[in-house]
């Protein structure tokens, strides 16, 4: 049981680092954005995992049911807004990439740097 619980955190660590790898090792700008998407998803997962309580249920009161254990609602509030903020900022990032493509004709980091040095 302890191991199964730890597995949640390990998946968080692995996902975080897969996203990090895409950001640092890939040169394509859209791929970097996808890496950021993975990174932020990993953080979402960590928050929600920490909010879970054994034997708990979702923090919505039910009529006629008393003495329920509820999972922690606070991380859920933070992540709920973060998902929508995430897609908006992702759109902003994609907008910047589109403009870069129009100005430089490429979305590969090394090609953009070559053009800049000329």
């Amino acid at each position: 049981m302890t191991l199964l619980g730890l597995y949640h955190y390990w998946v968080f660590a692995v996902l975080l680092m897969i996203g990090f790898y895409a950001v640092i090792a890939r040169l394509n700008l859209i791929k970097k954005l996808i890496g950021l998407f993975l990174f932020q998803s990993a953080v979402f997962l960590l928050y929600i995992t920490m909010g879970k309580v054994d034997g708990g249920t979702a923090p919505i009161f039910q009529v006629g049911v008393e003495n329920q254990i509820f999972s922690n609602p606070l991380p859920q509030v933070l992540i709920l807004t973060a998902i929508v903020v995430g897609i908006s900022t992702m759109a902003l990032g994609l907008g910047i990439v589109v403009r870069i493509k129009e100005e430089y004709g490429s979305i590969e980091e090394h090609e953009i740097q070559e053009i800049d040095q000329q």
């Binding site: 249920t57 979702a58 919505i60 039910q62």
Partner: protein, 93 residues
């Protein structure tokens, strides 16, 4: 009782994921995503009852309604690409 269905759905999700990884064409991957979407609707409905909280069915309803927008976007994407290529070929002639 719900466990059997959940296991079947999860196994099918794994199979669809394998199809998405193998490809070979991009359309196979779109097919896999579409399958995955339907399986998620079923999984969410079953989990709602497994947890004894039927009010979570709203989630499955949301997926059932908007999941196919992604596939339509793919169709629009390929259609505009085909038009673009035709237009480019026409300019070169």
């Amino acid at each position: 009782m719900y466990d059997v269905v959940t296991i079947a759905t999860l196994a099918t999700m794994a199979l669809a994921l394998v199809r998405a990884l193998l490809g070979p064409s991009v359309y196979d991957r779109v097919l896999a995503v579409n399958m995955f979407g339907t399986k998620t609707v079923l999984l969410l409905s079953v989990i709602a009852f497994l947890y004894g909280r039927p009010d979570f069915l709203d989630l499955a309803l949301a997926y059932a309604l908007i999941n196919f927008i992604g596939v339509l976007a793919v169709l629009v994407f390929f259609r505009s690409r085909a038009l673009r290529r035709a237009a480019n070929a026409g300019m070169e002639d």
